[in-house]
Symmetry: C2
Subunit: 175 residues, 2 copies
């Protein structure tokens, strides 16, 4: 599977159940949300802007998309978690199952970021993103066309300490 | 990584946080438990008995072990979930990263089962077990020597419907 096929399978409206394990304290957090993944044309102005910011040739990008989410955590049921961001894959021309994923700041708590992705022989998409003081590793795979799983680990960049690990099951909704 | 190394890394005492997603209803269940994984000698009588039941030559088994667990779910805090079983890997002589995993009935709710495992290039252990009316797929991998992740999906054997998906983070405890 290449990035184009992976993203084509991801386009749609998903209902997500996410469990966050706060490892140091053994705490559980439950988040329920709706996720919308929409493909963008490479010539969309938001994609061209992002390419310019990162000095990327727009000809080299593949399957850009927008992700929008809205949800609620059982830690604070009065707060709505909502946001949106634009994601632009830039496949490595030498090794087509690897590349970079550029993300804009979007709105809400998203940080602008550049991550490195690869797609394994098992068709799992793995994304590693380094931040100033932390690193995130995310693994996404399909159980069937209508069910995606996602595991994310956040580590402090100083060491190997993993702070939180989360698991999402995402079920495709009829649109 | 081969099965011997995978099991050597798994031996020990682990504190587990498990989130179960009951997908049809969007329900979350949180389970906290302690897991003990102890290696057994191939000539241990419980291993030899299990080999005999399944007509397996005891010379072909590799790294048998016992797993014992005790925990509590937030769905019924008065009930203690506890059990133990013996697990015997039988590597495929042709393809050493694949094989069968034989499990005895143990005590508590465990069912005797024979599953097919493989270890991926990413060092994930994947186990597929078919039951009478369901199939389970389990994926276990190490984030670091002291943190294991485990994702399990239970499907009805009739179709592709996934009933529950669960995620465990297992942290090694000092012994």
């Amino acid at each position: 599977m290449d990035i184009t096929e992976f993203i084509a399978r991801s386009i749609g409206h998903w209902r997500s159940q996410r469990s966050v394990h706060h490892l140091a304290f053994g705490h559980f957090e439950a988040v329920q949300s709706e996720i919308e993944i929409v493909s963008l044309r490479p010539e969309d102005s938001s994609v061209l802007d992002l390419c310019q910011t990162h000095s990327i040739d727009p000809q080299t990008v593949s399957s850009p998309f927008r992700m929008t989410w809205e949800g609620q955590s059982d830690w604070d049921e009065t707060e709505v978690l909502a946001g949106s961001c634009i994601l632009v894959p830039v496949p490595d021309p030498q090794t087509p199952n690897r590349g970079q994923l550029i993300r804009d700041q979007g709105y809400a708590e998203t940080m602008a970021a550049v991550g490195d992705y690869r797609i394994t022989e098992d068709n799992a998409f793995i994304l590693v993103t380094a931040y100033d003081r932390a690193a995130a590793e995310e693994k996404i795979w399909f159980i069937n066309p209508n069910l995606r799983c996602r595991v994310s680990c956040i580590k402090t960049s100083a060491g190997t300490g993993v702070v939180t690990a989360s698991f999402s099951t995402e079920i495709r909704q009829e649109t």
